[in-house]
């Protein structure tokens, strides 16, 4: 029998809806009883039509969205942290050390140069300044960001350049759990291949990955398994 590998990410009975108080309390159901387990070396690709709730699920995993009920247990420092219920400082520790996230729409930190943005997560776990910068620059170079841009804040970068800075910031760390929401949407074929290589390396290192990829080629190359997120019907319940 092959060695069973304990999941690094374990989602159980996750429910998420939005109550739009400014729209008369309209309730938008999105996730209903989602169960998902992701083992080391796996890349689970979320499938489902636009608006089904793929990004919502991913944001819940990162504790950027707050689910109504259920649990999201992440293997962290030899134990498990439930991202759905953990205190902010515990969530931040998981984000610092264990879980990386590249979002569909990433906010750029104003006025901070690209190389600092990429070095920041390394510094946050205690990597000394010069080493952090060197590793940041190496990752930027790997993602084809020309050195003349390293000292500039990404606010004025092209969409693809900004996305690659975000990718560099994530892949500069060897996170055990990776969340990738359309990480190649703004990239050309050559850069998409680089991202695929990075994903492959992460899988071989034993990271547990959850991804959303619109590009079929990327999806087929990255996925070890597909998980379908089913759209919920919008209920017209009005909050009291």
């Amino acid at each position: 029998m092959s060695m069973t590998r304990e999941p690094l990410l374990l989602v159980e009975k996750l429910r998420k809806h939005f109550t739009l108080h400014l729209q008369g309390g309209l309730v938008l159901g999105v996730l209903d009883d989602v169960d998902l387990a992701v083992a080391p070396g796996e890349c689970v690709v979320l499938a489902g039509p636009s608006g089904a709730g793929k990004s919502t699920l991913m944001r819940c995993l990162y504790a950027n969205y707050k689910p109504q009920s259920g649990s999201i247990r992440v293997h962290h420092r030899g134990g498990f942290v439930d991202m759905a219920n953990a205190a902010p400082h515990d969530v931040l520790a998981v984000r610092r050390e264990t879980m990386g996230y590249v979002s569909q729409f990433r906010r750029v930190i104003p006025r901070v140069p690209a190389r600092e943005i990429v070095a920041e997560p390394l510094r946050a776990v205690g990597v000394p300044g010069p080493e952090a910068l060197a590793r940041a620059e190496a990752m930027l170079a790997r993602l084809n960001i020309p050195p003349r841009l390293w000292g500039l804040p990404p606010a004025t970068f092209s969409g693809g350049e900004q996305q690659r800075v975000n990718l560099a910031r994530c892949f500069v760390m060897a996170y055990p759990v990776l969340l990738l929401d359309e990480p190649t949407a703004a990239l050309d074929a050559a850069n998409r291949r680089i991202v695929l290589t990075l994903i492959d390396e992460a899988k071989r290192r034993g990271s547990a990955i959850v991804g959303i990829f619109h590009d079929e080629e990327v999806r087929d190359a990255a996925a070890t398994r597909t998980f379908t997120v089913r759209p919920q019907t919008v209920s017209d319940t009005t909050a009291a």
Binding site: F18, T19, L20, H21, L22, R59, A63, N64, Y65, K66, P88, H89, D90, V91, L92, A93, R107, I109, P110, R111, V112
Partner: protein, 259 residues
């Protein structure tokens, strides 16, 4: 930030002004290295809460416990007045919204910083001058202005001087009330970058009161949303801003362009 025990523990804090319940039943813990933003419209009780927590105003009910350097939890109200004042000088720093409230306007910039050190026992003139210069440089002040009076400075410079004066004694907990309020947008941006760096490098625990959600996005790890003296929502900063739960928080978030 993963220390096992909070540096500050607040329970059931309440305070009325006549008929108005300015702060009602507020409880929270602050962890070492954690920056908490307190947001809400004007009059929601943010500044009153800051005064209650920092001991400059007495609550009608509730307790504030602060972990001292020896690791013991001190009840702020139960402390003697001199002990509390010593704590305020050594372990706490307060950055006021109006720099005039935190600076002495009739002594030089260098003396404003040096004075704080002398208040905690520094005596050697050369060391004090050296530390003052070091801190003025850290807040990006022109050292050529070290002997000038703060009233000859712009608002942004005054605020940076106040920050230097506050941080020179290495406080463990810093209270900031609208630290970027009343400044030009470009000056605000520079000040925010400065605070963001200092807080990260020094690993400060801080409570920052502001009505500017963009400020909290940059500076705060977590948020507490106040409405009419009560806490209506708390949580991780990005969660509260991106997925606000309470009707008041949703209104607050939707009223700004891009926080």
């Amino acid at each position: 930030m993963s220390a096992a025990e909070p540096i500050l523990s607040v329970r059931g804090l309440s305070r009325r002004f006549g008929a108005i319940a300015a702060v009602r039943e507020v409880s929270f813990d602050l962890w070492p290295g954690e920056v908490m933003g307190v947001v809400g419209e004007s009059g929601s009780g943010k500044t009153t809460l800051l005064h209650l927590v920092s001991g400059s105003l007495r609550p009608d009910a509730g307790t504030v416990l602060f972990r001292d350097r020896q690791g013991a939890m001190q009840d702020i109200q139960a402390m003697s007045e001199p002990a509390r004042r010593m704590l305020a000088r050594t372990d706490w720093g307060i950055v006021h919204q109006n720099p005039r409230d935190g600076l002495r306007m009739n002594v030089s910039a260098g003396a404003n910083v040096g004075e704080r050190l002398m208040a905690v026992g520094a005596r050697h003139y050369g060391n004090i001058r050296g530390a003052a210069e070091d801190w003025l440089a850290r807040v990006e002040m022109d050292l050529g202005r070290i002997d000038d009076l703060p009233r000859t400075f712009s608002g942004g410079m005054q605020q940076r001087l106040q920050i230097a004066r506050t941080l020179v004694t290495h406080p463990r907990l810093v209270f900031m009330d609208e630290p970027t309020g009343g400044l030009d947008v470009s000056v605000q941006a520079r000040l925010l970058d400065l605070i963001r760096n200092l807080v990260a490098v020094l690993g400060l625990s801080a409570i920052i009161v502001t009505h500017d959600l963009a400020v909290t996005r940059l500076l705060a790890h977590r948020l507490m949303v106040m409405q009419r003296g009560q806490v209506v929502e708390t949580g991780l900063t990005d969660q509260v801003l991106d997925d606000p739960q309470h009707p008041y928080t949703q209104l607050l978030v939707s009223s700004v362009l891009a926080a």
